[in-house]
Symmetry: C2
Subunit: 641 residues, 2 copies
Amino acid sequence: LLESWSSLDTVESNFRPLVVIELAKGTKEETIEWLTKRIVDKKANGGAQLLIKPLVTENGVENIYLVGASHLRLLLGAESVGLVKECSDNSMRTFTYSSRKTFKHFADDNHNFLTMAECQYIIKHELENLRAKDEKMIPGYPQAKLYPGKSIVRRLLTSGILVQIFPLHDREELKKLSHSWYGRVKVGYQPLDDVRCYFGETIALYFGFLEYFTFALIPMAVIGIPYYVFAWEDYDKYVLFATFNLLWSTVILEVWKRICAILTYRWGTLLMKRQFEEPRPGFHGVLGINPVTGREEPVYSSIKRQLRIYLVSLPFVCLCLYFSLYVMMIYFDLEQWALDYHKENESNFSSLMLYVPSIIYAVVIEIMNRIYRYAAEFLTSWENHRLESSYQNHLILKVLVFNFLNCFASLFYIAFVLFDMKLLRQSLATLLITSQILNQFAESLLPYWLQKRYNRRMKKRTYSKKTDTDLSLAEQVNMEKDMGTYLGTFDDYLELFLQFGYVSLFSCVYPLAAVFAVLNNITEIYSDALKMCRVYKRPFAEPTANIGVWQLAFETMSVISVVTNCILIGMSPQVDALFPDSKMDLVLTVALVEHLLLAIKFIMAFVIPDKPRDIQMKLAKLEFESLEALKQQVRAFQMQL
Amino acid sequence: LLESWSSLDTVESNFRPLVVIELAKGTKEETIEWLTKRIVDKKANGGAQLLIKPLVTENGVENIYLVGASHLRLLLGAESVGLVKECSDNSMRTFTYSSRKTFKHFADDNHNFLTMAECQYIIKHELENLRAKDEKMIPGYPQAKLYPGKSIVRRLLTSGILVQIFPLHDREELKKLSHSWYGRVKVGYQPLDDVRCYFGETIALYFGFLEYFTFALIPMAVIGIPYYVFAWEDYDKYVLFATFNLLWSTVILEVWKRICAILTYRWGTLLMKRQFEEPRPGFHGVLGINPVTGREEPVYSSIKRQLRIYLVSLPFVCLCLYFSLYVMMIYFDLEQWALDYHKENESNFSSLMLYVPSIIYAVVIEIMNRIYRYAAEFLTSWENHRLESSYQNHLILKVLVFNFLNCFASLFYIAFVLFDMKLLRQSLATLLITSQILNQFAESLLPYWLQKRYNRRMKKRTYSKKTDTDLSLAEQVNMEKDMGTYLGTFDDYLELFLQFGYVSLFSCVYPLAAVFAVLNNITEIYSDALKMCRVYKRPFAEPTANIGVWQLAFETMSVISVVTNCILIGMSPQVDALFPDSKMDLVLTVALVEHLLLAIKFIMAFVIPDKPRDIQMKLAKLEFESLEALKQQVRAFQMQL
């Protein structure tokens, strides 16, 4: 039966495997039969109309299946996911099968019109939107309940029948990409367009942001170096540096929006409509009619979701924040206690005791972070967001606030409660440098080592000296299925966000932070690239038009940094000495400067357009065309009456 | 020749005059001939394809012309201006002639499908977009140069040949409207939908905002009254009042956006596309191709405009602001000098001298305001904005900043430099109440008197006792052409904006301000309604989707008021007494509270959606349909290949 896969019109002889489905060992035959039938079944019958083949290895069939699709099916899928491609006249348009000939590089025999990443994205989309019809449960597993409209793949995953779905690497392409990306020492930009073709827009945009951010930090770093070299401690130089930093951070965030628009316009994702995203696989509800599209899909009350967010999630997050602050206070108490103990009984044991609070605190923070992350994921999933993007935004917001507090609360406490600038500078430097070294180790040395070990193991297993590109399909699948899963750009952005915090929040206390950030980011690009290409399974491409809630997060951080820097400058002894008579005048001056800086920031953000003019024009043109088309459409409709 | 006006297919027998064109006395015959030919000429020949007739009065032809259009022409015009009307299925859609039958209340013999205001708007639009072809000048006036693409009507106006264009009142409708609007004493909402039908969206939205704003001020007023009655002076009550005010002002501005969306969705303007606005008549440039629409129209470099804005207008505005502050300082010096003089030689003359500085200052401010207004209009016109909305926004921004400074600078000076709370309360009350009395006089008593005088004059002229509705067309036109011109909602919004400033900026010093504002606004609604219906010429309807830059202006004011109120509370002796030991702690506490309030404001603005959910859904649905239509369109196009 498995051999009798269908295609749209002809049985395709050259089956190209794109996506791997790994089922649990011992999955019942009837389940496999039902699943493959649903996958190959015609669209009209509620199937995905894809191609599927079992993977045959030396050990026989291992419940691993390869999914592909005919060229025609992929083109129709591209239309249904709303891909935007470049036309022959260089404009970007939503791809439709009927207008395929107007697109650049399209030819019926050119199977490279869609990139492999796009094809895999289409297949993922089709698989995830394979929904239960009248099945009450997954055949063979009565406990795995189904209801009309429920995503089958999601249920298979949650009930453990489906182990994983992942896209296959293209060894040839990967080799080319990794060579041009990180394989040689060169000065220049990353091959972002190639990265996008291979890994999709979300990942390419992360690397674009990382590169842009690194370049943007260079002026800060260059200005920061003389402060260290000449040990400048004059207040006016600090004020100058901090002011430059604050305005600069506004400018770079505004300019990023423009660059992001340029990139995503070229990649077509700027034009993809967010409104018509299909509901995310985890979304559940009673099957109803979507009032926007008029299509049948699960419907869930928006009020219920709001209630869950504001009555459950929000109080929970606040409680966690309070708890985290409480733990921090205990840490400072412990620290003080250890110091007192050491003073009283100076011994080897007591000096060892000095380190105990920090270690306990670090461990507790790490544990809290992990527990909180699970809780946040559970809560956000329970909020039942209809769109993946909305789910992600709510998750990011939750985790972000907690991480911000965990990372910076102790620095804030040192700066604004203990007023200990020396300790602040020292803590800041320690935190920044340790976190960078730890990250570099976890992201660059560890992967290197893992990769080396893996290669050895692979070679032992296959008893051969084949290079990666010479591997047979079965060998490749077996190797890739055991690789780690890349969990999205979340942690990478979070790292950058916290780094931005270290650089900007207390920049006037420690101007060298930008230098360390630049050095770190340069190696970060290479280690992240290596990680993407060699350490992890290939991730599915995800179209995206911007860095989403991260833009807001960075902007909020830059507003907070205006406040902190103004206070820090106000507290410095040099500025203090300027107002010998009245501390009031000092505080009022600082407050005035702070408000002026904030006003300038907001005016700048308001004045700098978010999209370059030519992109604005192109978008306006497309909107105009769509309006004209609607008129034409109505006219044609009227003719028939 | 004037009788031979054309129509689309048949000569319409029932010519309904909609718009009046008044030419200067003694305009050359060849000019009139050319203009009427251009107005009646077919669209294909570059004409407006309208109907025109000279007005014949007892004194013969007086160079006054009536413009109308056939029903068919108006429907086609509605399509070209992109009117949005309600369909039979209650959805709002852009009107097209071919889809006319899908619209509610449409019938080929129903000439009331378009409201009179819409018809007049269409005619105005067509007249203004009557552009020169190969004419080098206006025939008969070699000094009135033309170039291809120049708006003819605009050139006629600037060279004084065309005195004015205005829409005619509909006496029957007006009587009905004024009766339901202000004619009877009643408690209830204004008939906003009727106002919109008669005067258009911009004016209806102003009255909607005025009404909403009045209702929104009631809670503030109610809470403010006991402060006056019981002479509450406890700091905690003031803090409570100020905090309520600050959060309330954020809420009302956010909720207004939602109400505005509901109103403008119902009126169809929320869906009208801003991008495809035709260039404003005053816009000039080399004839080129609009890259968005592909149509021929004047093109002007955006960089040149930016240069004009930032290198000329911005410095000029800053200079004016500086000058205004300088004048204020001279005023305070004069005041001080007069006070000293009075102390030294106490005499009748010296006590009279006390009033001299205020009078001089008031006169100088008024003069400065007027000169500045002209300069701002000239500069904004010179900036050569392509769209009327963009022109208006830049003009409003310029005038707003200057008026804000002129009105509030002296109050700021008294509050934060002189630290004289008593004087502040006194000045605030004086300013608020005087300005309201003056405005009420200028807007309610003066119009009443003018109207009375006018009626007498009219009756003398016509020697009859006809009521308004019985007037002949010639009499009506003659009466209306001499009425004042309503210059737009600018001054009305400005008045509300300054009132909002008085109420919110120093609310904790003078809680009674909201009470006066509410009382004022209730009479304001009636006097403004009277003004619109009886005093001024009917204005052309202007579609608009929101109150534009005023929303931003009110929001900025509410942010500024957080800062001022926090400072005022911090300066009050009661709060001062709470921190007897350290003034520092006081200032720091105030700063902390201020930042918290600002943070809450921004979070609230972020969390409250700008459009109600059902409007969001309707918009999403329309966008989805337009996308589907584009696909269909492309498909149909492909079929032909």
